[in-house]
């Protein structure tokens, strides 16, 4: 049966009410502002990067030279980019298990009061400024941690990862990764706990009625349910680890050569820390541009990690529904 009655405009509910109209515009404006800021940063950094790439070519990304006085001067941040990644991986390996255990303990095992105290402490830990963490690490953590590294090297030194030929255990990637892990743990723990708390009680009931143990309940019910959120939390922590500057500055000795995997060997790379340590001694506009270009690639890397996190979270969400 064909009908000739014209279609009606149904968008009125969004427009006709004055309060909603104002509210919608404010929110939309705010949302676009944050996009504008992001675009601004990208454009600014991108503009600084172009002359550097024109001058240095792709070797800026692939070499490890840092010769400010040469004719012509040469710059390569491969060691720094790789170093940032290595530190992040070390931090992940240490922080993720600790955070998961802590979150599981808080949500499923600890008495309610202890759980509340822990939650508050961990939120507080997340709020400590990184410069404080850096100072604390420098004065308090580093001395014993150097001995831990020697122990690791003593017993596991036959694995190349833990080899150390120089006998110098200060300013190692491991140390920097450890400090980053300490900064990641509160973020990852807090998000994981939040996600685990949302495990539907009826699913936990179901598992209990089927004779689950704590471990099988986690493995087959709670963790699969929270997977998306937990991965998101880990990626957020990873974003912090990749971009962290000042805490790493205190504990890592910056060297331009790539330290591929000798994580107990003195010296490593970090883009962010490179920028902060070289910024004060720049000579001329071009050197500033070089540092900003390094920042641009760090920014791209962090953006990439966040995008990846979003993708993973969305995919697991879709699988579930």
């Amino acid at each position: 049966m064909a009908t000739d009655t014209p279609m009606r405009d149904l968008s009125g509910s969004k427009k006709a009410h004055r309060g909603d109209r104002i509210f919608n515009r404010t929110i939309t404006g705010a949302a676009f502002t944050s996009l504008l800021v992001l675009a601004g940063i990208t454009i600014f950094l991108g503009a600084q990067t172009i002359p550097v790439l024109q001058d240095q070519g792709l070797s800026f990304l692939t070499t490890t030279v840092w010769d400010t006085t040469g004719v012509p001067p040469e710059y390569g941040i491969a060691g720094m980019l790789y170093g940032s990644l290595l530190l992040a991986v070390i931090a992940l390996v240490i922080a993720v298990p600790v955070s998961l255990f802590l979150a599981v303990f808080m949500v499923f095992m600890a008495p309610a009061k202890l759980s509340k105290i822990l939650t508050n402490l961990i939120d507080l830990m997340a709020a400590i400024p990184s410069v404080i963490i850096g100072l604390w690490a420098f004065y308090v953590l580093v001395p014993p941690a150097e001995e831990w590294q020697q122990l690791l090297n003593h017993y596991l030194g036959w694995i190349p990862l833990f080899a150390n030929d120089s006998g110098n255990f200060s300013g190692t990637p491991f140390m920097a990764g450890l400090v980053l892990a300490i900064m990641m743990i509160p973020i990852v723990t807090s998000i994981t706990a939040e996600v685990l708390k949302r495990t539907p009680p009826e699913l936990i009931n179901a598992a209990e009625s089927l004779g689950c143990s704590m471990w099988t309940m986690l493995r087959y019910v709670a963790l699969p349910f929270g997977r998306g959120g937990i991965v998101g939390g880990i990626m957020l922590g990873l974003g912090r680890a990749l971009g962290e500057t000042i805490a790493v500055f205190f504990v890592l000795k910056i060297v331009f050569d790539i330290n591929f995997f000798n994580i107990l060997e003195s010296g490593g790379g970090s883009v962010a820390t490179l920028i902060v340590s070289k910024f004060g001694e720049t000579n001329g506009e071009f050197e500033v541009q070089v540092l900003l270009a390094a920042g641009f690639f760090l920014f791209l890397g962090t953006l990439f990690v966040n995008a990846l996190a979003n993708l993973i979270v969305r995919r697991t969400e879709r699988l579930r529904s």
Partner: protein
Amino acid sequence: MDSVQTATQEMMKSMSELEVEVDKSKAHVGAIEMEAKNVSVWFGKRKVLEDVNMAFPKNSVTALIGPSGCGKSTFIRTLNRLHELIPGAALAGEVLYEGNDIYAQNVDPVHIRLSIGMVFQKPNPFPSMTIRGNVLSGLKLSGMKRSDHDDIVEQTLTSAGLWKEVKDRLNAHAGELSGGQQQRLVIARALAVNPHVLLMDEPCSALDPASTLKIEETIRQLSKDITIIIVTHNMQQAVRVSDYTAFFLAEENKPGYVVEQGATTEIFGNPQDERTLDYVNGRFG
């Protein structure tokens, strides 16, 4: 008043029709499988259940009826030790399964929960698992080793009356099933670990009438082999599926207790307590 009388008469009539069936079903009812002795229950300092004594013969269906908040659900959760998982939960008395106290110190609650399965009010299949995965999930969760997985899946889904509908899509996600199908899937899941007793906490309250009838059919079939204890708010359902009925009641801010229990035909046809008569005729609750 007339209408109440007519309704009662109608119910009696439908019950006398049922009688033959109930009697027939009782032929398989055996010795006492489970028994609750002087069971009282607390949540923190609040007593919610007072001195419940009840016996469940093997392969019988027992319906627990009564208004909301009278402790029926709490009671069945004491029968497979799920009750104790709630913080602050406490219990007095004994629950005997095959003559042994399930709360004795040396008893592993996991074994109890495997022998005494449970189906909940809201269908709760595991959303991240397939239909097949859900049926077998109890084996994984309890660490039970059995190799005949395909047989288990077919058998339990057949027992739960779902096999025909899902046999071609066992690897589909459980979330794709309708509510009624999900509830039957959950029954199959509970059966896969081979329980001797199945507790059902208002299994049909979230389902439409057609699905409800299917589940009831399943319950009647299952009761040939296992003992079923079902909480229900649906009087007709209690009449249709159960051999025995217990009527729970709780006065305001007082713990719940059993007013009357006995053969379903007696509780509905010839209740001894006036409150039972009023409740089964829908005059309160």
